[in-house]
Symmetry: C2
Subunit: 230 residues, 2 copies
Amino acid sequence: MEPKNYLRHIAFDSVILGFSGDKLKILIMKYHNTGLYALPGGFVKMEENLNDAVRRGLKERTGLDNIYLEQFYTFGDVQRYQPESMQTILLANGNSTEQYAWMLERFISVAYYALIDYEKVVPQPDALSDSCGWYDIDNLPALMQDHNEIVNKALQTLRDNIDRKLVGFNLMPLVFTMKELQKVYEAILGESIHRGTFQRKMLGLGILKRHDKQYSGKAHKAPFLYSFEK
Amino acid sequence: MEPKNYLRHIAFDSVILGFSGDKLKILIMKYHNTGLYALPGGFVKMEENLNDAVRRGLKERTGLDNIYLEQFYTFGDVQRYQPESMQTILLANGNSTEQYAWMLERFISVAYYALIDYEKVVPQPDALSDSCGWYDIDNLPALMQDHNEIVNKALQTLRDNIDRKLVGFNLMPLVFTMKELQKVYEAILGESIHRGTFQRKMLGLGILKRHDKQYSGKAHKAPFLYSFEK
DNA sequence: TTACTATTGTCGCAATATGCGACAATAATC
DNA sequence: GATTATTGTCGCATATTGCGACAATAGTAA
């Protein structure tokens, strides 16, 4: 975290979404001894591509690796600048605010979102944070700075893009039932979808491969399992 | 242009689109005595919102004021960093590279696009530039740094958003014929549209107000004039 | 075995949207 | 009054979408 290694005034924040049960979850970090909640974020090194910085920083802070990230907006209002919270974090971790004065300056933040398979991930908090966990998207704590606004904009962008980008691809396990896929779409869109219509549309896309049936032991017809083609 | 007044490492670039005849035009600046072409861009002041900086900077550099700007991507690759071209510009304008050393550092650039009424605008070049003029979108000169890539991404985003955002609103004069509106859509999408289908769709949106006919003096039926509601 | 339940795969129909050609209306000219 | 170019609109064929219905089926209960 040497000051000279990072570009001043530039940060990134990431909205990491996963799916569990019927709900969208989001990855939130909590800082040691501060009660402050925040999106996983970080800084850009002097000789590092912005997109690479996000991948690196996210791995350092959460242990997440090799995920699909989509840039969606850059937040640059002056009101973002709240050195108090950053100072609180630094002090709570025993860092002198002199050495890290650059972190107390105003930042413009490039925001990314990602969709990952909730089951496959055990996020690991880094040294600055005492937890790194999943929260219900509709039951978030108050987050630092403008992070709640960033989350809302990420969700809006995701909904707008759901038909154009292959949303489920990253969020789903290797194989899944049509009903599971539908629940993901419903969670993202925040509305229910007619079962027949959804099935017809998904099959019509030609991107699903049908496998054997999944016998759940329940007293009803067993659903097929699917995976994404290629 | 005092160094201390601006955030280091952060810039913006703008893709200003207008329409003339059958073609999309884009506003390009040419720097004095350098042969360098570039998008109108600028920097962000210490105590200034990013979006405000873009409006201010665009006015300073081109004379354009009060236009609809949409942020679409932030470019942060290391290869963007080409201090040679910036140095060329500074020297050609008689500035010492020492005083402006901060401008030779690496920049991350937040890009915006805008649609404006070509007829209503007479762009004015600023002190650094000897021209500020319209170029055909499909016949651009080679631009500085990654500015050609920025233009392409702006066009792609514009096409993706053409049905969701009220594209024509800013690009059209106060009143216009259906054929004129169609030409704008065709220029943006880069493909021709069936006349009847387009008319039906536009009228179906319920956002056009029909006025008197426009008599051109030509030997055929006169078209209605329209304006956008509200 | 047989009835029953919950869920799945699929279909049909209505409503809506889209691509494309055709036809009548019309402003100016010959 | 005929001709020409262009416009407003419509009809039809073809997708797309919302919604209900029906048969199939895996297990449970009688």
